[in-house]
Structure formats: C-alpha cells, structure tokens
C-alpha cells in the first residue's frame, strides 16, 4: 500500500515537473468551461452585484462569474460554515430532525484565493477532529472541489507572505489556476483535480512559456506584499506579556464590533440559539464574536472577559498563541479583511509589531 502511494506521488511529481498535466484555456472560453462545470456540479464563483463588492455565490452560468477581482468582502468560509445554520428542527412534542444536506451533488468553488483556501485547512483542524467531528461542516467540505485562483494583484492591505504563505500558495487546492492575461493555466494538485481536468473539454496542453510566465507572475505578486511580521518567538512573547499593560493601549481604539471576526476567514466561534414560532422551532448555530461582551457572560452575571481589553487580548492570543499551542499553526492567513474593514482602522500587523517591540 505504502509503495503504491509513493509510486503515485512520484508519478504525479514527474508529470507536474514535465508540465504534462498543466492545461490552459483561452480567456474567451472560460465562461464555457464554467458552464460545463455548472452543468455537472453545484458551482460557486466570485460574483458582484454592483461591480465593486465581490461575494462567492452559486452561479448557473459562467458569465455570472467575475474572475478579475481582488478578493471577496466576506470570507468564503460561509460556504462551509454559514453565518446561520440549522442544526435541527422540531415541533412541539415531536422529535428533532436534522436537515438533510441541500444536495448530494458535488460542489465546486472556482476562484478561491490562496489565503482563503489555506483558511479552510485551519478550519478543518477545528471542525474535522477525530473525537467530535462536526457533521455539518465536514459534509460540505468533503463534498467540495476547490479551484484556487492565484493572486496576481495582492492589495496593499495583504500580508500573507508575512505569515509564510503566499499569493501563489497551492496548499488546499484541488486545481490551481493562474491568470496569464490572455488565458488561464490549470494545474491539478490532487488526484480529484487531475481526474476532473481530464473531463473538461477544450483544454489545451500548457506550453513551456505558459509555465515560465506563471512563475514570473508569482515572483511579481510576492514582491508586491511588503508587510513583514516578526514571527520568531512571537508565541513566547505573547505568553510573557499576557498581564502587561500594553493591552490597555492596544484595545483602546477598538469599538467592540464584530467586523473583524465576521469577515475573518479563520474565525470559527459560534453561538447556538433556539428560535421558535408557535409550535415549530429550530436550533441554529450562528457566528459569534469574542469581541462581544455577551460572548462569555454567564447567567450569574460573572464575565471572565469583562472589558474590551480582555476581549482584544483573547482575539490576538487565540490567533497567534492558543491556536499555535493546540494546532501548531497561526490562525491568520494575511487576507487583510480585518484591516480593510475595521471602522477604527485597526491594523493587526501593527498590533503584532507593537507586541514584538516590547522590551
């Protein structure tokens, strides 16, 4: 069995090295390709109603997709972990019923950015555990093929490279797509991706110059991201400064809203509430935010995180210390959404810098 896997791995690597599996398609044919996918799969792609705010939505036709975009305003985590999701419904006196998955049909998300693709592997660590597997998340996750679209034009607020990730990171993708100006380059990353590419009609073999151009674009994109974060010993530093007064300063401009956590692709905290109208009810889970006072408020009135200071500390610690302690990775992918949308223009990279600079 092991040898078999090794051989497979070797074969894949060789094929990729040889560029044999890489495909391209002319830009004017991409809508057709998406039509083909939308026909066989439940297809999600970046769309925009007003031409400015981009959001990942279900599309029926390829032309609905807006593939030249910076990134979606809301993180695509909502496709796996919706803002509100019914856990079960019930009627008075009756038993609970769990909603059936909306469709058995496989889903494809086309155009996920590398940072958001990476965020899914972080969410997996929380939801796809051996002891208590989350059925709602894992069902959708297992049912979805991901086409990651390389990020040729990182924004000034992006900082994925500062976290050791990058605008051309392939981790988590089934197929990695690069925009080559006049065409798209497709690189299968997983077996699923490879098989799927074989199905798609109209793909051409990638030429040597396509592959080298993609490499050039990758270099250019990486160079655009200039934010640096000192990650060495950050975790230890955070351990040391837990009780320091610096948190009083850090939190003071925070307004205590949930923008950063709701738009964050890695924030996974949720609340479970019951909603009932007359005899019918349901238990739903909804996104929650550690920035809200009610997040940890107990019925007795006691709150272990009573002020903005503790709550801000929780958010930073969770991402850069607790998550690292538990799962060995930082729970931030550098997408910059919190930074772009914070009403007080709070910059998480500056917060980390401030912490790192503490004596």
């Amino acid at each position: 069995m092991k040898i078999h896997l090794w051989l497979l791995f070797l074969k894949m690597t060789l094929k990729i090295l040889l560029g044999e599996l890489m495909k391209t398609i002319k830009k004017d044919k991409i809508a057709k390709l998406l039509d083909f996918l939308a026909d066989k799969y439940e297809l999600f792609a970046p769309t925009s109603k007003d031409g400015l705010v981009v959001s990942f939505e279900r599309i029926e036709e390829g032309k609905q997709a807006k593939l030249r975009f910076y990134n979606s305003n809301e993180a695509p985590k909502k496709l796996f972990f919706p803002q509100s999701e019914t856990l079960f419904s019930y009627s008075k006196g009756g038993r609970e019923t769990v909603p059936e998955p909306k469709t058995e049909q496989q889903r494809i998300i086309f155009g996920l950015k590398p940072c958001d693709t990476k965020s899914l592997s972080l969410l997996d660590k929380v939801f796809d555990t051996t002891d208590f597997k989350d059925p709602y998340y894992t069902q959708k996750r297992g049912n979805t093929i991901i086409f990651t679209l390389a990020c040729n034009r990182p924004q000034s607020s992006c900082f994925c490279t500062a976290l050791g990730l990058g605008p051309f990171l392939k981790e988590g993708a089934d197929v990695f797509v690069v925009d080559l100006d006049d065409k798209y380059l497709f690189e299968p990353i997983t077996q699923t991706g490879e098989d799927l590419l074989k199905e798609i009609p109209g793909l051409e073999e990638a030429a040597e110059k396509d592959i080298s151009y993609a490499k050039e674009l990758a270099g250019g994109a990486e160079a655009k991201i200039t934010t640096k974060i000192q990650l060495d010993s950050l975790k230890e530093k955070l351990d040391e400064i837990f009780n320091e007064s610096v948190w009083d300063e850090i939190h003071q401009k925070c307004l205590g809203c949930g923008v950063c956590t709701y738009l964050c692709p890695t924030c996974h905290c949720f609340d479970i509430v019951d909603e009932q109208v007359n005899d019918k009810g349901k238990r739903i889970r909804i996104w929650d935010s550690c920035m809200y006072p009610a997040f940890t408020l107990e019925a007795s009135g006691h709150n272990p995180k009573p002020t903005g200071k503790e709550r801000m500390r929780q958010r930073i610690m969770h991402k850069f210390n607790y998550f690292v302690e538990t799962y060995d990775e930082i729970a931030c992918v550098g997408c910059g959404r919190c930074l772009r949308n914070c009403p007080a223009c709070m910059d998480i990279t500056k917060v980390i810098e401030q912490i790192n600079n503490l004596k």
Partner: protein
Amino acid sequence: MDKKAGNWEPKILAFLCSWCSYAGADLAGVSRLQYPTNIRIIKVPCSGRINPVFIVKALQVGWDGVLVSGCHPGDCHYLSGNYYARRRFTILNRLLEYAGIEQGRVHFAWISAGEGKKFAKTVGEVTEVIEKLGPATRLVKAELGNGKKK
C-alpha cells in the same frame, strides 16, 4: 390559523391602558356591546409603558394588526404618561409607514373608561381595515424551516 385558506380571520393585538381603555373595554363587555372577537388584549399600566419594541415585535411574530389605546390627553392617571407616549407613537407610526409596513396595521386611539361604545366601534373599524389589508406578511418572521434567509 391557515392564512391561505379563505376562512382567514385577522389576529389583532391590543395594548390597553389599565385606567381608561381597559376599563372602556370592560364597560363595552358589561354593556353587552357587540364587537369582533379578533382582538387579544394586553393590559398595561399606562400608554406610556408601551415600548415601541412591543409593537415591532408583535408585527414580527405575526399579529395581523396592533391597536394601542390609552387615556385621552389630560386624563392620564399619571398626569403626563400619554403625552410622552403620543410623541413616541407619532414617530413610530410615521417610521413604520415609511419603512413599508402597510398603513392600517397599527392603530392608535384614545378611549376613556366611560367610552364603552367607542371601544366597540374602534375594534370594529380596526378589524375591518385589517381584514381589507389581508394577512400580515411584511416583517413577519417566515415559517421556520423555509426561512427567508439572506
């Protein structure tokens, strides 16, 4: 109540001040005045007690109409409760209409303890208006399970 079926009857929630309007309703009762049975009453100490959130909530959970009633201006048991309430209702009434809640879902009336007849007449009129409007749909929380989700 099946709203689609032809035998739909409006459900109307009334907030009545305990000193005047509730007593007015009582008088209507002891005077054996006829008025529609679509109304359910919540007694409140004063019209000034009625938080606008009560009315929004009533519409949200599916009442087809709301009637709010208190003492006539100048007659408030607490001297000025209804004056304050009147300003609040003015703004609420305008805002609800502006936001697209049909005119006629929410009614206001001054009814004194002696106005049993007025109470019966008001309930009759309110019921008629709401019957004409039909079942409430706007702002109503959708049937659970097939929710009007985002």
